[in-house]
């Protein structure tokens, strides 16, 4: 461990910050906040005609939950680069929390769409699904996310083996891209917000590509340099 006991105070660097005891609990509570607020506000707006979500609470609430899904996907993708940059390896175990919350918000977003927006009109649901690319893309992302949620337990990692589990969970990369495209195709004209999420996803995936590339090149460069 880098932050082993007995180091002098001057040796304390950013890499030596340990996980605060309160962190896991606070993280979970924070992750719940947008969902609790959204559910409460939508229920109040629909039943009591308040305007927390403005005049069209179903649409606004549905979009709010969709954006939070993307935010949690992005947060889960941020864990590894942040860990590599800071050396806070304890962050790794919270990737699962963030990923599961992303799935939870995706479910809420989907339920808002099916129950409140389309109101279980099966004809419309089927028509949406076969005619509208942004719905198809959103549904594809949802389907891809189900195996990730199902294999989020420690047991699954053991059963699948770390390597296969890791490979399966790389599905989050296409899911993130599909999520941004789904948002992009859904907006009427102003693409500012989807562009912002797109940039975040591009940077986070780009980081991985660059690291993968430089690791592949590094040994070869070293061997080439040592050749003569």
């Amino acid at each position: 461990m880098r932050d082993a006991e007995g180091i002098r105070e001057s040796d304390l660097t950013i890499r030596s910050i340990r996980e605060p005891k309160w962190f896991p609990a606070v993280l979970i509570v924070l992750c719940c906040v947008p969902g609790v607020l959204a559910s409460g506000a939508m229920a109040s707006d629909i039943i009591a005609h308040t305007r927390y979500f403005g005049s069209n609470p179903v649409k606004e609430g549905e979009h709010f939950l969709g954006e939070w899904t993307l935010r949690f996907i992005i947060a889960s993708l941020t864990v590894t680069p942040l860990r590599q940059l800071t050396g806070w390896n304890w962050l790794a175990k919270h990737r699962r929390t963030l990923g599961l919350f992303a799935f939870g918000y995706l479910m809420l977003h989907w339920l808002a769409y099916v129950l409140l927006d389309v109101q279980l009109n099966w004809g419309d649901l089927v028509k949406d699904l076969i005619k509208r690319p942004y719905i198809m893309i959103g549904m594809a992302a949802l389907l891809l996310m189900i195996p990730l949620a199902l294999t989020s337990t420690r047991n699954s990692i053991r059963r699948l083996g770390g390597k296969r589990w890791n490979r399966l969970h790389m599905l989050i990369y296409p899911i993130a891209i599909l999520g941004v495209i789904h948002f992009w195709l859904g907006v009427k004209k102003d693409i500012t917000d989807p562009l912002l999420y797109g940039v975040c996803v591009a940077v986070l995936l780009g980081w991985r590509v660059v690291r993968w590339w430089s690791r592949r090149e590094a040994p070869r460069a070293a061997s080439l340099a040592g050749a003569p």
């Binding site: 305007r51 403005g54 005049s55 069209n56 009109n121 419309d124 509208r132 009427k188 004209k189 102003d190």
Partner: protein
């Protein structure tokens, strides 16, 4: 119920609309208070205070309303707006249009007419009788409202301009003023916003040039000081803050059609059988209601407008 406002009321909001819209009414009101300028000036603030905090009553003659149609609350009508000149969010216009200057306001009527002219808004309105009409409103985004407008028939304005025999279309243009309209500094649409109608559509008695809503002067976010209202067409055809009305012989270019021709046609008549490429137009959500309603052909105004489109393929001419 008190009305919540996010900003200080502008002078146009607290001036009683009838006084602002119609000078004859202004004089009559002043006379009633006690005659003379002093009485009028002292009377106005008290009128304003008495009037402003009240939820306004919907006034006007219902046009094409269904039995269960009720006016959408003032709060929704004035805070849920698509007016991209003031931002693309529904709440942006009511939050950022407060300081928009609508006085003085000049309207140019020109093109293929015998009587082209620039009008001050007051002179533009004076020859017509201002009417209160309650219309259904259907946005292309599949939400709808019922709105009590105040305005003059567009046909009056067209008739006074005396279109010549070559005139086939009417083009409308919104004010271009990026300093006042922050949205015009963005590239979301090509500015200024333009819209268009066939001449016979513009002469349809339903086409209204609105100057007020709920018996009040049009709030800036609703397209002050002068906007079009075409209840049988999707809302974006009802162009806001109009500065120019031009008669042409060619189909006018329209803002949304230029932005996405496959999604927004020139006609854009409300039609439940022709879907937007990205969503269904068969149903709509009435603002303030949970369960969706069926969308009606021409938004319920088929009787008044369907004959204008007889023999046309409305799938092609969407």
């Amino acid at each position: 119920m008190p009305i919540r406002t996010n900003h200080e009321p502008t002078s146009s909001e607290i001036t009683p609309e009838t006084l602002y819209v119609d000078r004859r009414a202004f004089l009559a009101a002043a006379g009633a208070i006690g005659a003379g300028a002093v009485a009028a000036l002292s009377g106005m603030p008290s009128l304003a205070v008495a009037q402003h905090p009240q939820e306004p009553q919907a006034v006007g003659k219902p046009y094409g309303l269904q039995p269960d149609d009720k006016p959408t609350p003032w709060e929704d009508v004035t805070t849920y707006n698509n007016f991209y000149e003031f931002g693309t969010g529904k709440g942006d216009p009511s939050q950022t249009a407060g300081s928009f200057k609508t006085k003085p306001w000049t309207v140019r009527v020109d093109g293929l007419v015998n009587k082209p002219a620039d009008y001050q808004l007051e002179d533009f309105l004076k020859p017509s009788v201002v009417e209160d009409r309650i219309y259904r409103h259907r946005c292309v985004e599949a939400w709808s409202m019922v709105i009590p407008w105040r305005g003059i028939p567009l046909a009056d304005v067209i008739r006074r301009a005396e279109p010549n025999s070559k005139a086939k279309f009417v083009e409308f243009t919104t004010l271009m003023d990026p300093k006042q309209m922050p949205g015009e500094r963005s590239g979301v649409l090509s500015w200024p916003y333009t819209e268009g109608l066939r001449l016979d559509e513009a002469q349809n008695p339903l086409a209204l040039l609105a100057v007020g809503v709920y018996g009040r002067v049009l709030p800036n976010q609703n397209g002050a000081p002068l906007r079009l209202v075409l209840p049988w067409k999707y809302g974006f055809k009802s162009i806001k803050s109009i500065v120019r009305i031009r008669l042409t012989d060619a189909t006018p270019k329209t803002a949304w059609n230029q932005a996405a021709a496959n999604e927004y046609g020139f006609y854009s008549n409300v039609n439940p059988t022709v879907d937007h490429p990205r969503w269904s137009q068969a149903t709509e959500r009435r603002i303030g209601e949970f369960f969706k309603r069926k969308t009606l052909m021409f938004n319920g105004y088929a009787e008044q407008v369907a004959s204008m489109y007889a023999g046309m393929d409305l799938r092609k001419n969407f």
